[in-house]
């Protein structure tokens, strides 16, 4: 008999729930299209339909995500309603000022992520399951506040002026929030799937770093101000290119942090087999598999994002590939992970070297994400520090 050391949570929901959820997404899409069908163009209609399908898919077997989506939708709509057409209410309306204006929602998100990290680490080191669960709860709340922040910010940009309005994925500040939210969602997905909360603190560590950077960027540089889009960014492509990219970045970060946990565990297993890390972190092969999963997911979405970027470039810059520094670094990141995947799939490498490589991969990714904007010049007029 094979040894059954570990089971995956296949986590399917009752059929009735699945169909109610699907029906809800269908109803939402239909409602949107009947209300606004006349002002939406073909592209936007496609996006609405795809978003509904995507949400229906993500939520059908994932209870946490269903609640997240519902609460985000309800609170965002509530905030939009509170605003009416007066942006100034952000400072005077109690609910907006303290909870739901994009700025406060994002501050909540930041605080909650930091608290979640503490809870996860406490859970890990004090061997407290309760604290672990608090970590999960805080992370879900943070993700929800972050998502609400983005949604409300989207609306706020239109309240400034209809011609300023745009989806909040257009500058460094906004994508940092996107990064935190997406990475946390990816983590939550695997946390449930692999039934382990022990990795939470490690993943929340990168997220917290992003959050701290974002706070500095807000208070040090006033980057939270909504700016109108420069002409180069006024494109439909941006709306899918950027999120796809951040699924990639998020997954690569996740893989790297699992790599860190992996190395810590191997290190402690040899020095102190009864230590917290050695006993409480998931089994090495499980982490190894998880690392592979995350890199595969990142690779798939990064491929998609780079290709979408090429399509966009072909429309905006006069060529699908210009060897612009950002593009080139995307290629470098991509080649690096392609090599990683081959090393693992076809040469069968496992364990520590691959964990180290995943960590190095994060630095390469980080350079493509931030370093290029900081140190190199090019066509990506995306944001500077």
């Amino acid at each position: 008999m094979r040894e059954n050391t570990f089971t995956l949570q296949q986590g399917s929901s009752p059929l009735a729930v699945i169909w109610v959820w699907r029906g809800l997404m269908l109803a939402a899409a239909i409602l949107l299209l009947t209300l606004y069908g006349t002002v939406l163009d073909g592209y936007e209609i496609t996006i609405v339909v795809l978003a509904a399908v995507g949400l229906a898919f993500l939520g059908q077997n994932w209870r946490g995500f269903r609640w997240h989506a519902l609460i985000t939708a309800v609170l965002s709509l509530w905030a939009v309603k509170r605003y009416g057409s007066d942006l100034k209410l952000a400072d005077t309306d109690f609910l907006l000022n303290y909870l739901l204006s994009s700025q406060s929602a994002i501050m909540w998100m930041s605080a909650l992520f930091l608290m979640a990290m503490l809870a996860y680490f406490t859970g890990l080191f004090m061997r407290s399951e309760f604290s672990d669960k608090v970590g999960t709860g805080l992370t879900w709340t943070a993700v929800t506040m972050g998502m609400i922040g983005l949604m409300v910010r989207w609306r706020e940009s239109y309240l400034i002026s209809p011609d300023v309005g745009h989806i909040p994925v257009s500058n460094l500040y906004e994508v940092f929030i996107l990064f935190a939210v997406i990475t946390a969602l990816l983590y939550l997905f695997y946390e449930r799937r692999y039934q382990t909360r022990a990795l939470g603190g490690f993943v929340l560590l990168v997220i917290s770093m992003a959050v701290i950077f974002q706070l500095w960027y807000t208070f040090g540089r006033g980057a939270n101000e909504i700016q109108p889009l420069v002409p180069a960014l006024q494109s439909y492509w941006m709306k899918i290119h950027v999120p796809a990219n951040f699924v990639g970045y998020g997954a690569f970060s996740l893989a790297a942090m699992i790599g860190v946990a992996y190395l810590l565990k191997t290190w402690q297993t040899s020095s102190n087999p009864q230590g917290v890390l050695a006993t409480r972190l998931p089994l090495l092969p499980v982490m190894d598999d998880l690392m592979y999963k995350a890199i595969a997911l990142g690779f798939a979405f990064f491929t998609l994002a780079t290709i979408l970027g090429a399509l966009w470039a072909a429309e905006a810059w006069g060529g699908y590939w210009s060897w612009d520094p950002k593009e080139t670094w995307a290629l470098i990141v991509w080649l690096n992970y392609a090599a990683w995947l081959h090393m693992r799939m076809t040469k069968g490498w496992h364990g520590r070297p691959m964990a180290w490589w995943a960590i190095i991969g994060l630095f390469v990714t980080l350079f493509a994400f931030l370093g290029v904007n900081m140190f190199l010049s090019g066509l990506h007029s995306y944001g500077t520090l």
Binding site: N4, T7, S161, A232, D289, F299, G318, T328, A339
Partner: protein
Amino acid sequence: MSRPSFARRLFSFLSTMDLAITLLLTLAIASIIGTVLQQNQPYPDYLLKFGPFWFDVFESLGLYDVYSAAWFLLILVLLVVSTSVCVFRNAPTMVREIWQLRTQVQAKSLRAMQHHEQWTQSSDVETLTAQAQAYFTQQGFRNKVVARPEAGETLISAMKGGMNRMGYLLTHLAIIVICLGALLDSNVPMKLAKWQGNLQVETRDLSISKVPQESRLAVGNHAFRGSISIPEGKSASVAFIGLEDGYVMQELPFKIAVKDFRIAHYATGQPKSFESDLVITDPELESPLEQTISVNHPLSYRGYTIYQASFADGGSLLTLKPWALSQEIGPFDTAFNTKVFDKQATAWGSNAAQLEITNFRVFNINPDPTDDEPGNMRNFGPTINFKIRSKTGEAREYENYMLPVPRDGRDYFFSGVRENPNETFRYLYLPVDDNGSVAGWVAFVGALQDTELVDMIAAEMATITLSDVTTEKGILQKNLHNSLAALVELFLRGGFSEVGRFIEASLPEADREALGAAYLAMLREMLGRVYIHTLDQPAIQTITDLNDEQVFFLQDAVTAVGALPLYGAPVYLELTDYTHIQATGLQIAHMPGKPIVYLGCAMLIIGVFLLFYLPQRRFWLILKPEQNGCNLLFAGMSNRNPYEFDSFFDQTYQQLKQAVEGNFDPEKRSESMT
């Protein structure tokens, strides 16, 4: 045993994974170079940066255009070859794997598999086989029943996700397809033509008609990406392609005329859109094609795509009024007309030889200095940029604002100056007089440079200052008179710093502090008196008679005069009128490889997702009759996601068990789904 032939060994070397991984990483590292060193810059810039020795070394390595350097292309070609060989070797197996069910397996090997179960059932083999097969079919498995009379058993082989192997093929073929398509669109053919001597890179700045035949590319189906700047109201039917340290000129089969170029702004002043109204005339068209393009919205026509890439001045018409800042040239007040990009000889002063207008902008959106929020922008109105080139060839560049700019509650005309393009402008703030003009300040400069006038005022001031002195009055007065005139001259020559230097040099250290302050006070008094003279208001006799506004004006005027020696121009050029003519910068691309590349991209995306998210799963069931029923041996394997397969196998096993008993209900999707 003979050694395999060289071709065989090469073939297997090319398909090794080690080579593939090495190439992937080498390509990644090589790509870094071009992101660190800015590519395709003018060669003189590189020369300046690296010096002649390294400039040559880097040039021979092709580092100024790494991505089309021979060695870089070689890595790419090797990667493509390696991938092709790899696909070629694996394709037959992969294709077979997509469809083929494995029916050769023996019970022994199934028992050796990590995932297997064995149990007994009381029904007969035929019923069980039929029910199991129905189950597999219903669950979407391809399957096949093989009777093995020799072993007295029946095998069902089932499989799902064979398309995973198609994913492998698509992913790797995509790499080849994309690279081939991109090769078609690259500038490699152009470089080859140059190398064969069929194409000459032009480095001179020539007008279109003067570009020699060897540097022209006729209309054809080759790929290119070029650009051209067309002023409003003008047209062109060529594009310039940057190549090495110069360009070649591509002819187009149609003519592009620019009717209008527009920039729209947001309320905050940032640019909102750049648009050009184009008219395409082509013998193949019945009537001209009119279309507006903007950033992100190009025009595609006959396989050519025309993009809004940039904009520039298109030779705006300007009226300039020169104000003399030097006695040498005397006053003049006749405005003259010129155009942006014009160069003209001047007669200003002994050394200024040529005026070159380099740019004109209608809007200058800068942070508002009167606002606390640094982010708030303001439009400061039109500017002109020009160079004044001396007879020896050196040029200073100037930037003059047309409208007064407020700073700390007062208005100034700004004039920036810099010696070379890498510096930022240093600004001269010229105070605006009561009439809103620079005339008041120019008059002050003129008066200070009028030695007779200064002399007269110095004498006057000396007399008044020494009116109470009785002894040796004549000599003292003479000395003071001379000193005052000399101070003004020093000030004109080098501002307060020159005066300071003079004080350092000529006064004994002990007296320096007291006397120095006295000197500066006297200089200020002198400057004030000269200013009062220019006012021509008899009621005002001394500095104390000046009103606040005049005192401020005097302060600013003095500061500006003190900075004049650094300004270095013999005139201040005031922009009095303009007609704005813009030029739109178009990029024109012809990319015949694009559909191929896009096909490759589609293959890549589909391939990658198939590879990662469609696991290939195989199951086998061997049914062997026993005394009182049938023994079933069930086994399965998957080529990825081992952990997911654990539970998938369990679930399939449970369902199959129910199914062969005839009580599996697919509607009761208990814990199905993955």
